[in-house]
Point group: C2
Chain length 128, copies 2
Amino acid sequence: MRNRSVTYSSEATFQALADPTRRAVLDLLRRGSLPAGEIAGAFSVSRPAISKHLRLLRRAHLVREHREGRNRVYQLNPEPLRAVDSWLDQYRNFWRMNLTSLKTFVEAEHAKETHAAKLNRKTSKGDL
Amino acid sequence: MRNRSVTYSSEATFQALADPTRRAVLDLLRRGSLPAGEIAGAFSVSRPAISKHLRLLRRAHLVREHREGRNRVYQLNPEPLRAVDSWLDQYRNFWRMNLTSLKTFVEAEHAKETHAAKLNRKTSKGDL
DNA sequence: TCGTCGCGTAACTGTAGGGTTACGCATTAT
DNA sequence: ATAATGCGTAACCCTACAGTTACGCGACGA
């Protein structure tokens, strides 16, 4: 396995993405780097709360921080998202090919609930 | 609000994906539907723990459950993952650019921003 | 009709996490 | 030097949740 670059734990990445505020921070940083204060200003929660979110994002390597005077400028690092992307990739085929079979499944479900006889070939009881 | 098809809250989806066990359950179900017991058998945690994970996955509509006799068969539903995919899509352009040009781009963006005069030419970039 | 099986749920525990306010430490301004 | 600014951290809430064991209930096989 050629790990040419840093291997990020997709664990930390998924966990960082779990919170909507953190995803919003990332979305914000897509438009450009920002100092922590301005990031915090974009949200209704307190500044320390954002500071903790930024710490998590740092831990997941989704952002980078560097100092500019007394500012702490945060920059997006989308690299770890590749792991999410490749995890997702295993499912892409699914929602491409699976729509018809999903449809039949749903119809089968419906049929089963209406007739309720399909699975009960072994028993004559067949009722709920 | 246009609900063309069922609208899944990506919130629930991201949150469901945050747990590695749940992701593993999904990975398992990619190979085919399974009754709850067999899913639980694939993990070291207790069966009720898996049951609760399944509940969360159901809540996020990532799995569907139907009864077969006394079994509860779970089936993967990859649909909500589309939301994750499209969220991720906004970042794909980013990791297509190489990182150095990204860095300069982002910093240029930032320099254009509001209080640029305040932070200005200290050029503390690059150190640290 | 019974006992067993499959599986969800209740009740409980420990811990992580997101929110707050108070504070400390650099860095810049006066 | 002193004050003010920017921001992280500590200490503290409260809720969510992953895990456990004990239990209940419908579905089967006898």
